[in-house]
């Protein structure tokens, strides 16, 4: 049973923002993460403000500048199946098609996928952990096989999204509406490490709503991909994943981004790997050196040391594959 709450279906973005500015108000769209959190008492809501009736937040369009604008209410399934996404941003299509299960992709929205809460079983369970305002991270001394190897401090979650690392690799940003007006936030600056604030995963303030994800026009020579490794053949969250968006010229990487999923409390951009590959052809030794560089600062916990060789292998393979694509 869900705890009781009031339910409001906002008729305009202004109304949604106004309603969401109140303490105890929570945003409702696809609901797949929210309802689980409410049911498990991860957090509480006095009032759910549904944004599902707002028509301007749905669908995918290409702007005059060639950028792709994805409404926050667009389902993950719609992103995965969109012809423009498949043709111009194959990494994003791949990532979206590997999110959760078919049912959850039909329900979950891209806005929700970017803003979902962590899946740490202590956070989701009956543990008053640091992220919920307690004094202990139970994962640190506990069952931490699925926790982070990079970027952890005091809290060791991994960010659960597959689309966020891909959008970050593609240089995307999000448009946000809030009580103080509208702003655009690069995904580079959207996610928050536990060292900066242990109780939030994004920079969103109370009342702020992600309305769109904006992906820049892919320049010539851009190739993108997403690779996700799971503990089982069917659907699951990533044990290790890598999103690539690289620009090639005459066989060499000119620039681009390497972003890891399942590695850190935020989608983790590996500048170490990027600095190895930029200017080079993706020959086997370059891919290997980049993969090793990506893991150079990894600090595994007691039970997740397997992630270091797993990431090394996955990054090496994916770079090689994209180099030959």
């Amino acid at each position: 049973m869900l705890p009781t709450f009031a339910y409001i279906r906002a008729q305009s973005l202004d109304e949604a923002v106004r309603q969401l500015a109140a303490d105890g108000a929570r945003i409702h769209a696809g609901g797949t993460d929210l309802l689980g959190c409410l049911r498990d008492r991860v957090f509480h809501a006095d009032k759910l403000v549904s944004i599902t009736a707002l028509p301007g937040l749905r669908g995918i369009a290409t702007g005059r500048d060639g950028a792709l604008r994805i409404g926050a209410l667009t389902t993950v399934a719609e992103v995965a199946g969109n012809p423009t996404v498949r043709e111009r941003y194959p990494g994003l299509a791949q990532a979206a098609s590997e999110v959760a299960s078919p049912q959850l992709r039909n329900q979950g929205t891209i806005g929700g996928n970017l803003c979902q809460r962590p899946r740490c079983w202590y956070f989701r369970g009956e543990f008053h952990c640091l992220r919920k305002g307690g004094t202990t991270c139970y994962a640190l001394a506990g069952e931490n096989q699925y926790h982070c190897i990079l970027g952890g401090s005091r809290c060791y979650i991994v960010h659960p999204s597959d689309t966020a690392p891909t959008l970050l690799a593609l240089g995307a940003s999000v448009e946000v509406a809030g009580p103080k007006g509208r702003r655009t936030v690069s995904l580079d600056e959207f996610y928050v490490l536990p060292s900066a604030d242990i109780q939030r995963e994004t920079v969103l303030a109370q009342g702020e709503v992600v309305t769109h994800a904006v992906v820049p026009r892919p320049g010539t020579g851009i190739r993108s991909s997403y690779r996700k490794v799971r503990a089982r053949g069917s659907w699951d969250f990533a044990l290790a994943g890598v999103a690539l968006a690289l620009r090639f010229d005459a066989g060499r990487v000119v620039d681009g981004r390497v972003v890891l999923s399942g590695a850190a409390p935020v989608p983790w951009r590996s500048r170490e790997a990027e600095s190895v590959i930029v200017g080079s052809r993706l020959e086997p030794d370059v891919c290997r050196r980049a993969a090793v560089a990506a893991m150079a600062s990894a600090v595994p916990l007691k039970r997740n040391g397997y992630k270091v060789p797993l990431f090394t292998g996955v990054i090496e393979e994916e770079l090689g594959k994209l180099g030959r694509a």
Binding site: M1, L2, P3, T4, F5, A6, Y7, R9, H28, G31, T32, L35, G36, R39, D46, K47, L48, S50, T52, A77, A100, S101, P102, Q103, L104, N106, Q107, S234, W235
Partner: protein
């Protein structure tokens, strides 16, 4: 029952096209579509499983698409078209998927079956000739702990063939095991 705060209305009311019938139902606004179907509409064919989005047994078709009814708020379904397992048969005639699931032993304990039937129905509505991999992908969100899935895949393939009007019979091995 805990007392309600005054700003929490006691009931929500929605209209549904439920298995082809216009239906109006009132319920507490924090109920999921699954709870509304089972408790307020008496349609207990849709099963209550993990409540986490992992098992798929609560799958229904919402505006034609498979969704997990345990993660949908009833109040968010106003005006929607909902199909449950109760709406699959045509009067006394079972849906071809129901027939082949029964004939091939694709249902054992049966708890996951309604979810598999509806996910399969959505697949066949979009793709009359799915490959084995496409069936696996479409059913990836549904867990079965009895059958090992093979008979379910074969039942979907056989139903697809029947619905296309192809001559198709289950293999001896599917029906009776390896000699």
């Amino acid at each position: 029952m805990a007392s309600r705060r005054p700003d929490h209305p006691a009931t929500a009311q929605i209209r549904l096209d439920l298995n082809g019938e216009q239906t109006t139902v009132a319920f507490a606004p924090h109920k999921t579509l699954l709870e509304v179907l089972r408790e307020d509409l008496g349609l207990t064919g849709t099963k209550h499983g993990c409540e986490l989005g992992e098992c798929g047994t609560c799958t229904v078709l919402l505006d034609g698409r498979p969704v997990l009814s345990c993660l949908v708020l009833g109040v968010a379904c106003d005006g929607a078209e909902v199909r449950t397992v109760e709406g699959m048969a045509d009067g006394p005639r079972l849906h071809p998927l129901q027939e082949t699931f029964a004939d091939l032993g694709a249902a054992q304990c049966g708890y996951c079956t309604p979810g598999f039937l509806l996910a399969s129905k959505a697949l066949l509505a979009a793709n009359a000739r799915p490959s084995r991999d496409e069936i696996k992908e479409a059913l990836a969100g549904n867990l079965c702990r009895c059958t090992g899935y093979l008979k379910i895949y074969e039942a979907v393939e056989l139903a697809a063939a029947k619905m296309r009007g192809d001559e198709a019979e289950p293999s001896e091995e599917t029906l009776y095991g390896r000699p």
